[in-house]
């Protein structure tokens, strides 16, 4: 072997190699040794195995003979190919299709049990077959299900019963057999499986564990991006599923309500039948006041679904009272049209005057699962939100825009009600007026005809206010004593009207619009009740003279609560007895309604009086036009100015209520919580207190859970929620109202 005297050039794969036959190159033998200069390529085998005897022998044989030699091949363990029973085992013949076989994706998964019966099972089956018929496949399915339901522990018999829908005897025998067999089984399952990896890594070197998942996939950046996208999709999916759950929950609730409604209707019909109310008169009488039922504005909150949080707040901020034809179509035209059609007519009952509706925006919205994306913002507010923290567009379509070249002066507070007569047409002027009927309200006001022919008195403040207030306070001692009187007999004597009438004749009230509040006051109003806002700001609190906001102690308050509850019960009894006169009933209804729905403690005598007077004064109007400002759970002012303390507040806490009543007693700062910045001009303030047609609760059961939830929130904000009382009081009323309520169809489209 001669050493090379030169270094052979590297073999260039791109360089043409001439092909010679050996016979053409007689001097080739000289070059043979040079062959070694060509770098040897590896064989690609494991070194150890490369040296194995039989391989080397085969390689050398091949190099010698250029051909395979029978006795030089690598020996392998033998294989036999003479299974005698093959034809019996694999039955039938298969024809070759002309086309290439193309397998259908998913076509393979026939629901066949993985378990295959063995001869032991066959014995059992033969035994069982003496008593009943059981097919091998049926047996296999049973065992298969049992196996797949068991992990380390076998399923219990009771679980097995759920799994297998079989005859008891059969089930028992198969189950027992299976348990026994599984105990004796060597493997972990009767269906042999490849050992699976364990996540803890303990099986990393277990030779019997195979086909581990590739956890850290060979990923390129592209794939990672892909994963991100799919992760987001999964999130979205999860969200949508949870939304579905919510919807289904609400459907459930709706159906329950429907059932309840049905039962109540049934009950009513029965009662009517019993009392012989075939003409429907009694029903009409009874159902009339129901129209006044205030909207329970607490929105149903979704207890799962991630929109919950943000939307809850938003919904609270902008509830809207939507009456029959109120064009909220403006904002979301398409869907609403359809929905509204569904909202109303079918539930309307014969024999009941079609009452006006208030559809709470929140109510609508919660069924309005229009989208799922986070990117989608809730629809624009229907009514201008008024809370001070809504910076951007507090007034919605009614937003105040400065006009170019126009000078704006701040409103004159002193002369609040004194619009310059010369500037206003006659009909817009306020004038000093007094209600002729008790309780003889006196104040600057202007009369208008509202919707449905209701008479609306727009109040205004004026320089006369102090005088009027004085009148108020002058009358007060009487009032106070009366109230004290009122309380005691109330417990024994249910004849409320009598007492009220007494009071009414004695009282003269001043009414005027809610004055503009300072920020602090506004805040308080926002956090607390809305009821006070709705009330006329007449000074009528029994505690005015006591001179302090804390005039009512906690005990007094509680006793008052009890009284109210009792009062309601009595009223309800009366209602059931159907003995009271229409007006009487109406009065009571209005009281109880308010008390029940808006928090019982708010039923103080003054409001009761006013309610009564309102009924009286409104009597010539269409029955559903009963003035009901007290009962409105929130106020939607005429000019769209919306008060922050709004509708979606939970029932009020006693403390805030007390303090407010104290405030209102002081008179100068009545408890309204109108936000000053949302009042573009004086007139709007005036209009803000104008009574609105009675809103109507669209749904019989304002969701108590959500109310409670909100109440808890309120508690955490140092307020004592009175939800439970309110609810208790609410309950019987709700039953009564049930029939008059129009259940909102919760169509989920």
């Amino acid at each position: 072997m001669s050493k090379l005297s030169f270094r052979a050039r590297a073999l260039d794969a791109a360089k043409p190699l001439p092909v010679y036959r050996n016979r053409d190159l007689p001097d080739l033998s000289d070059c043979v040794s040079i062959n070694r200069a060509v770098p040897q390529m590896p064989t690609g085998m494991e070194k150890e195995e490369e040296l194995e005897h039989h391989l080397q022998r085969a390689i050398s044989a091949q190099q010698v003979f250029r051909e395979k030699k029978e006795n030089m091949v690598i020996p392998v363990p033998e294989a036999e190919s003479n299974t005698t029973y093959y034809d019996r085992l694999y039955k039938g013949e298969v024809k070759v299709p002309k086309q290439l076989i193309h397998i259908q994706p998913l076509g393979l998964d026939l629901e066949q049990p993985d378990y295959d019966m063995d001869s032991e099972d066959e014995t059992l089956l033969n035994r069982l077959n003496r008593k009943m018929e059981i097919k091998p496949l049926q047996f296999e399915i049973m065992v298969d299900r049992l196996e797949k339901a068991s992990t380390h522990q076998v399923v219990s018999l009771s679980e097995a019963k759920l799994l297998l829908n079989e005859d008891d005897y059969l089930l028992k025998s198969v189950y027992d057999y299976w348990v026994r067999k599984r105990k004796n089984c060597l493997g972990p399952s009767l269906i042999p499986h490849i050992k699976q990896e364990k996540r803890d890594g303990s099986t990393n070197s277990d030779a019997y564990v195979a086909f581990r998942r590739r956890t850290e996939k060979m990923q390129t950046r592209k794939n990672r991006k892909n994963d991100e996208a799919s992760y987001e999709k999964m999130l979205r999916l999860r969200r949508e599923f949870s939304r579905t759950v919510t919807i289904l929950e609400m459907i459930k609730r709706r159906e329950k309500s429907k059932r309840e409604l049905l039962h109540l209707t049934l009950e009513v019909v029965e009662r009517r039948y019993q009392m012989g109310d075939f003409s429907g008169d009694t029903l009409r009488e009874v159902s009339l006041p129901l129209v006044e039922k205030p909207v329970y504005s607490t929105p149903v909150t979704l207890n799962n679904g991630n929109r919950h949080k943000t939307d809850k707040i938003k919904m609270q901020k902008k509830p809207i009272s939507v009456r029959d034809e109120l064009p909220f179509d403006l904002i979301r035209p398409k869907k609403k049209n359809i929905r509204r059609d569904r909202l109303y007519p079918p539930q309307r009952r014969p024999g009941r005057p079609p009452g006006p509706f208030t559809v709470n925006k929140a109510d609508i919205k919660q069924y309005d699962f229009h989208s799922s994306g986070e990117d989608e913002s809730p629809p624009p507010p229907l009514s201008p939100p008024s809370s001070p923290d809504e910076e951007n567009n507090p007034d919605g379509v009614f937003v105040f825009r400065r006009k170019a070249g126009c000078q704006y002066l701040s409103p004159c507070r002193e002369q609040a009600g004194g619009d310059h007569p010369q500037l206003l047409p006659q009909c817009l002027r306020h004038s000093l007026a007094e209600l002729t009927l008790p309780p003889h309200w006196t104040g600057l006001s202007r009369r208008r005809i509202g919707r449905g022919g209701r008479i609306i008195l727009d109040r205004a403040s004026s320089g006369l206010d102090p005088v009027l207030r004085q009148m108020d306070s002058l009358a007060h001692p009487v009032f106070r004593t009366r109230t004290c009187l009122l309380r005691e007999p109330l417990e024994q004597n249910p004849s409320l009207t009598e007492i009220l009438n007494n009071i009414q004749t004695l009282r003269r009230f001043c009414y005027r619009p809610r004055p503009v509040q300072d920020q602090r006051e506004g805040c308080r109003g926002t956090t607390g009740s809305s009821l006070e806002d709705r009330r006329l700001t007449c000074c009528r609190s029994p505690d005015t003279n006591s001179g302090s906001a804390g005039g009512i102690t906690e005990e007094q308050y509680h006793s008052h609560q009890q009284q109210l509850v009792q009062m309601q019960k009595q009223q309800l009894e009366q209602l059931h007895n159907n003995s009271a006169s229409y007006r009487h009933t109406a009065l009571q209804r209005s009281q109880s309604t308010r008390a029940g729905e808006s928090g019982s403690k708010t039923l103080d005598s003054a409001s009761a009086q006013f309610a009564a007077s309102a009924v009286i004064s409104a009597s010539p109007l269409p029955p559903h036009g009963v003035i009901n400002r007290e009962n409105k759970p929130y106020k939607t002012s005429i000019n769209g100015v919306h008060h922050p303390s709004g509708p979606s507040r939970p029932p009020y806490s006693s403390s805030s209520s007390l303090s407010r009543s104290g405030l209102s007693a002081r008179g100068s700062l009545s408890s309204s919580s109108s936000s000053p910045q949302s009042l573009p001009n004086q007139r709007s303030q005036v209009g803000a207190v104008s009574p609105r047609p009675p809103p109507h609760t669209a749904r019989p059961s304002a969701p108590p859970t959500s109310a409670l939830k909100l109440a808890t929130v309120a508690t955490s904000l140092n307020r004592v929620p009175k939800v439970s009382t309110a609810r208790d009081a609410n309950e019987p009323e709700r039953l009564l109202n049930g029939l008059s309520e129009t259940t909102l169809p919760m169509e989920v489209t």
């Binding site: 052979a8 073999l11 260039d12 794969a13 360089k15 190699l17 001439p18 092909v19 010679y20 036959r21 016979r23 190159l25 080739l28 040079i34 060509v38 040897q40 390529m41 690609g44 085998m45 494991e46 070194k47 195995e49 040296l51 005897h53 039989h54 391989l55 022998r57 085969a58 390689i59 050398s60 010698v64 363990p77 033998e78 294989a79 036999e80 190919s81 299974t83 093959y86 013949e93 290439l100 076989i101 193309h102 397998i103 026939l110 295959d116 019966m117 001869s119 091998p136 060597l186 493997g187 499986h193 490849i194 070197s205 030779a207 195979a210 086909f211 590739r214 060979m218 794939n223 892909n226």
Partner: protein, 465 residues
């Protein structure tokens, strides 16, 4: 021979000559290592590995086949045979210095020396070889400089998960006593009874069975004939559960996606593992496609062999594992499988190479295929313009889809490449030409590219395999 196991305790790791029959049915006494001892009905059985023979010939023998007189006890300092990391001569790093088999002087019983066991090319009579080679179970490192970079063995003793690409292991650090021993005695597959060659991770409870039954078409493993019978009432498959992409005569190829048809892929891998030593089933089958070759008869499409292929190979592999089932071996099916794999590569417009390490049979088959394919081209070259025909290695590679390195190694192996008068030339000797012509006459089975209906998918464009 007398049962002398009672006199001397034979333990794992002992070495001694063991009687076996060679292919000519002559007795021979190759040295063997005892890997395991068991007692079946009060009779001791020894699992022996014949040194320098492939593991597939390992077997359980009775005591009377052991030559106790030459018994060697395991060396004290020797590590347990349960751990051995071997680094092979895989060409994964091209710069790597290759230690070529050189005529070796036998170095008796020096197991730590890597070169000790190197076999020379022996004369055809294998019985002449009686040296004491190194213990194959020993962990060793090739003591050549560049080897370490490739070494994936866990010399620090911490078992690491194997790499996630490919289907073969070269790292034998997980090669413990369990996987060194065959665990299935016999497999019945259709008409055939196969004796497995290597360990396969079938469920452990099935390894004690004398025969493991497989459904011929879905390859499901069953513990008894009764179970198989029952299974066949429910299994409607009469061909591999994939799309037929080639058919000529009775030969068909089916393509199976390892992700879409996990059950079949896993069953196929389990079966294949019985005959492929280096195959790993550590990870799932998702990144592989399986090409199953079948032969049709009236009972259905019977599996003959298969090869698997990574959907995306970073190393130009066009075959991961390749196997002709033993009953069909040495009848040209292996070459047909290889040919088919290169036909697929031709459609893809790529060159390819089988994943390493190759087995002995794999090496022989591939070399044979490469030789025939290249010689076919070289012999067909016609002189153009009266000049000597010439061809570049790249051209050969492009025509055949055989990777350049494999072309070169084949040319070298066939001794075709020579350095002559300052340039490399290819020379065809008479015996090569004659041998090739004889071989080609015997090669009836060929792939007909016209019968192939295959459109390669671009798996890189998909999120997952």
């Amino acid at each position: 021979m007398a049962d002398n196991s009672s006199s001397v305790e034979i333990v794992e790791g002992c070495r001694l000559p063991v009687l076996r029959k060679n292919q000519e049915h002559e007795d021979e006494w190759p040295l063997a290592e005892i890997l395991s001892v068991k007692e079946v009905s009060s009779r001791k059985l020894y699992y022996v590995h014949y040194i320098d023979f492939n593991k597939r010939l390992d077997e359980w023998v009775t005591g009377d086949r052991l030559d106790m007189k030459k018994l060697q006890f395991p060396k004290k300092e020797a590590k347990t045979p349960t751990k051995n990391g071997l680094s092979g001569s895989r060409p994964s790093s091209p710069e790597r210095e290759v230690v070529r088999v050189s005529p070796a002087t036998p170095v008796p019983s020096l197991p730590s020396s890597a070169e000790a066991s190197q076999a020379s090319v022996f004369p055809a009579n294998g019985t002449a070889r009686r040296l004491v080679p190194s213990q194959p179970g020993r962990k060793r490192k090739a003591n050549c400089g560049g080897a370490e970079e490739d070494s994936q063995d866990s010399s620090d003793g911490i078992p690491t998960a194997p790499r996630m690409t490919g289907s073969l292991v070269s790292d034998r650090s997980h090669d413990d006593i369990v996987t060194r021993m065959k665990n299935i005695e016999c497999i019945e597959l259709g008409r055939h009874r196969l004796k497995p060659w290597y360990f396969s991770p079938y469920p452990q409870e099935l390894t004690t069975l004398p025969i493991l039954y497989l459904c011929e078409f879905c390859l499901k493993y069953l513990k008894s004939l009764k179970c198989l019978q029952r299974h066949l009432t429910k299994c409607n498959l009469r061909h591999p559960p994939g799309n037929e992409i080639y058919r000529k005569g009775t030969i068909s190829f089916f393509e199976i996606d390892g992700r879409k048809n996990k059950m079949y892929s896993q069953n196929l891998c389990l079966l294949a593992k019985c005959f492929l030593d280096h195959k790993t089933l550590y990870y799932d089958t998702d990144p592989f496609l399986f090409y199953v070759m079948t032969e049709y008869d009236s009972k259905g499409f019977h599996i003959v062999g298969y090869f698997s292929k990574e959907k995306e190979s970073t190393e130009d592999y066009n075959v991961a594992c390749i196997l002709t089932l033993p009953p069909y071996q040495r009848r040209g099916y292996g070459k047909l499988l290889i040919e088919f794999s290169y036909e697929l590569s031709k459609v893809e417009g790529k060159t390819g190479t089988p994943e390493k390490p190759l087995s002995d049979l794999g090496l022989l088959s591939y070399r044979s295929y490469w030789s025939q394919t290249i010689l076919e081209i070289l012999m067909d070259l016609k002189p153009d313009n009266g000049e000597r025909p010439q061809i570049t290695i790249n051209e050969i590679s492009e025509i055949t889809s055989v990777k350049k390195e494999d072309v070169i190694s084949t040319l070298q192996y066939l001794n075709l490449i020579n350095y002559y008068k300052g340039q490399y030339i290819l020379t065809l000797s008479e015996d090569i030409v004659d041998g090739h012509e004889r071989a080609m006459q015997k090669r009836h089975l060929r792939i007909d590219p016209k019968c192939l209906h295959f459109t390669p998918k671009d798996w890189s464009k998909r999120g997952k395999w």
